[in-house]
Symmetry: C2
Subunit: 512 residues, 2 copies
């Protein structure tokens, strides 16, 4: 991205405002580096003080994000006809207002109570999960639900909406629980039979070769080469190792990915790297000149996830991808992978098999894991499900949806960190990401007629260009549902995801 | 370091003050991480924005360090009899006052002018050095001298002192130009003949073996093992690679070293690592409970440098050290170093040979490089030497002191970054470090009778314990000259350094 030099000057009211937000974002970017470092580089004894560093910077950001002066500047920009005459700037100011109002609506006392409770909650969850002790976590879960309910009330429930909407808004602006429910219900109705058919299928691919032991440094080199080939700019980023893979768009020109490696986890590492690479290319594609303003930010977690899922799944589990990648992998690991053929590689990347653990699940059953979390957290927030009854509700739903028994809460309702860290309303963004990914992918394939052939030749640039043009360059100008509809000419639907899965899985599993 | 749990509670006036300074130091620690990352991990395209991040945090630190509220809190602590009754707290508050008064004396407009001028100066210097073009750097040097003069006037010249004192105070609190001059003159009078004798010596060690090519990853492992054995705590630190080696005490529990490696630079890398390790162990030995307050900070750059020089030179170039280290090195590099004997290794670590470049010079001639810089920068500040005449003065002095000709300014007065970044008064701390190191080393050897035998057996813990006890634990409680005198029972003198060099070099060079 280079800054536009021939653009007309921005109105003063906007420039002043953007300058303040850029300073706030600069402090946030220092925080982002501290967090990245904590997961990748920090020596163990640095941990205690790192929490203090992060809290101090958070305080500085919070003070600035909620200052009356900022509110006045936003009002001034809202009242400036030159701003309102420019659709992009008007959208940017609309989103600034949204962020500001949310931030100031939450009383400082509640923010502090939440920060403290969620820090304790995370600690309690770690130990409860380890000891498989739901009872020990229960009071923290109750507190989390209660605090989220109070936060949602403080944010304010939209007309005709529900408490959950006020939380979802923080992760997926412009989305409502009812709309999620509508799309998820359709998905569920079509996905459950597909998974049932697959479970009954006579033919099935296996991923036995994926267990072969490959040196970790060689895997790292291979992953780096793949993600660079995808289009991730290593001059403006890094790829490191952490316990849980993540992507951090730290600052303009500095986007960092992590992945994780096991000697017998070749496919897992590759899909993690491609996933984070998708996030990273979105960060690298956001307009740098708008850093700190909504026009320089992602359109929400769902769209962010659509980028990672598209590269991980639509690209990385496709036959064309393996036409290109398998010879690369064989060249990198001739002894271990020399005998693998294209059918085996493509099949191994597409094993669909119900599992207990969300993060280990395949791209089809994954969505059932998310839908159950959405339903259960929404019910807890509404008061329809008592936190004490969560394990029973969880286990029953896993049985109904996946046909497997949950042997203990560690592999059931205690498996995810989200609720312990206070995040209610976050889970649906994962499946929204899959849905957006499939719908955008269908649109890209329609437009880019040589897409498959290019990928098979290792040329990913047409897809990246398409995403830059249609998604990345807009930042947060459009709410996600509107962005999706602008690009694909239709509202978000579950049809493209089901269509994509059926098309790919039908031959692999000999479905009817 | 563990916090004292049985200490009496601190007076409220001190606790409040220390809390504010701790917050400032917390922001500074985030800056430190950004700087470390810039030199070690940051992708190239992150550079432009990194400058913004650093400047933003600098601004936050500056605002807080010069706020009237902080001044009032310092006054309150000064007036609190409970603080003044405790010698350590009183010393801490005295140093806080010193820092605060310095910070507020510099007008904001001058700070901004300096920041901008020195950023431009560094850029100009890099390109001038590369093109060997002193004329291009000259206006920047003139500006640097002028700005430093104005800063010194703003700081205020002490009674009977000179402008230079006001600058030196920023790097070496409690030291004056006249005192530096006194010690340096004595050193010069004894060092020049020693170097002359060495130049004429019939016998001389060589370091031919040090050019053998050793794999860089294996060297890194070796250096890591040595620095850990010295006592650097890797649970509370790291060792990485950067273009210029450095140590950053980022935060409590997090001290980071870098070194640099060439396949044919085994001894260079080792001495860099041991040098930075010495700095790092000082940082790790500062009392964590006083983080942010002078009691938790180093006693000045000279004492900091004494720690690095002691480990690099007094330990790392000693015969006992090589009795232990050579077998380790042979085990790590059996093919390349199998035939090296102790005399060769010890000799190679002690080649004394005049060179043009300060950072490549040996531990004896190094001090002549520093003394010339001190004299020349002092003369420029006084107005006795015009910046335009610097090259001539430099070259003449190198000829007189080292008996070699300077072929170009790149290898002459353009070689160091310091003046370009605005640092006048910094250079003498390097030789002060060598002087403190030798004087402390003499005291340690007197007290620790088994020191040599321990080092020869790879046991460095008695020395580290002695340094922790005598230097590290005090933080900035005592000004450096006083600290030195308390520990060694005599004022700073050049005798121990000369004595140390003569004792070691006499047999190696067959001196009279």
């Amino acid at each position: 991205m280079t800054a536009k030099t021939d653009a007309p000057p921005l109105p003063d009211s906007y420039t002043t405002l953007a300058g303040i937000l850029r300073e706030v974002a600069t402090i946030t970017s220092a925080q982002a580096l501290l967090s990245w470092d904590q997961e990748t580089m920090m020596p163990p004894r640095g941990a205690a003080f790192r929490a203090t560093q992060l809290a101090t910077l958070s305080g500085l950001v919070h003070d600035r994000s909620t200052s009356p002066e900022l509110g006045e500047m936003i009002s001034a920009a809202e009242a400036d006809p030159d701003v309102q005459a420019d659709e992009a700037l008007a959208a940017s100011v609309r989103e600034m207002r949204r962020d500001y109002d949310r931030a100031v609506r939450l009383p400082g006392s509640l923010v502090r109570e939440m920060t403290e409770a969620f820090a304790l909650g995370m600690e309690a969850w770690r130990s409860a999960r380890e000891r498989n002790d739901f009872a020990a976590f229960l009071p923290h879960l109750e507190k989390t639900v209660d605090l989220n309910r109070r936060a949602a009330e403080a944010y304010g429930v939209p007309e005709g909406g529900e408490l959950y909407d006020a939380l979802l808004e923080g992760y997926e602006p412009g989305m409502t629980a009812a709309e999620v429910d509508r799309v998820f219900s359709g998905l569920r109705a079509d996905l459950a039979p597909l998974i049932h058919e697959i479970a009954e299928a006579a033919t099935r691919p296996d991923d036995a070769f994926a267990d072969r032991r490959l040196s970790i440094p060689d895997q790292q080199a291979f992953n780096r080469a793949v993600v660079e080939r995808m289009g991730f700019d290593m001059e403006a980023g890094r790829l490191d190792v952490s316990t849980h893979p993540f992507c951090s768009g730290i600052a303009p020109g500095d986007t960092r990915l992590t992945s994780r490696y096991r000697e017998d986890g070749f496919l897992d590492a590759l899909s993690s790297t491609m996933h984070e690479g998708g996030h990273g290319m979105y960060e690298q594609g956001l307009p740098e000149q708008h850093f700190g303003a909504p026009l320089g930010e992602a359109a929400g977690l769902g769209i962010h996830e659509s980028q990672s899922r598209m590269w991980e799944n639509m690209v990385g589990r496709s036959r064309p991808f393996w036409e290109w990648a398998l010879p690369q992998a064989k060249a990198a690991f001739p002894e271990q992978l020399g005998d693998v053929d294209l059918d085996a590689a493509f099949g191994a990347a597409n094993v669909v098999q119900p599992t207990l653990i969300r993060v280990e699940s395949d791209e089809a059953t994954y969505n059932l894991h998310i839908m159950l979390r959405f339903d259960l957290e929404r019910a807890m927030l509404k008061g329809d499900l008592a936190p004490a009854d969560l394990p029973e509700a969880w286990n029953e739903r896993i049985r109904a949806d996946l046909g497997i028994e949950v042997p203990d809460d560690r592999r059931g309702c205690l498996q995810d960190v989200h609720w312990s860290m206070g995040a209610i309303g976050y889970f649906p963004t994962y499946t929204l990401g899959n849905l957006y990914a499939a719908q955008l992918w269908a649109a890209a394939r329609e437009e880019l007629t040589d897409l498959d052939a290019g990928i098979a030749a290792g040329d990913f640039s047409p897809l990246l260009r398409w995403l830059r043009e249609n998604i990345h360059q807009h930042g947060r100008r459009f709410p996600a549902p509107e962005l999706c509809e602008r690009v694909t000419q239709r509202p978000l639907s579950h049809d493209p995801l089901i269509g994509y899965l059926r098309e790919k899985l039908t031959p692999l599993y000999g479905l009817g």
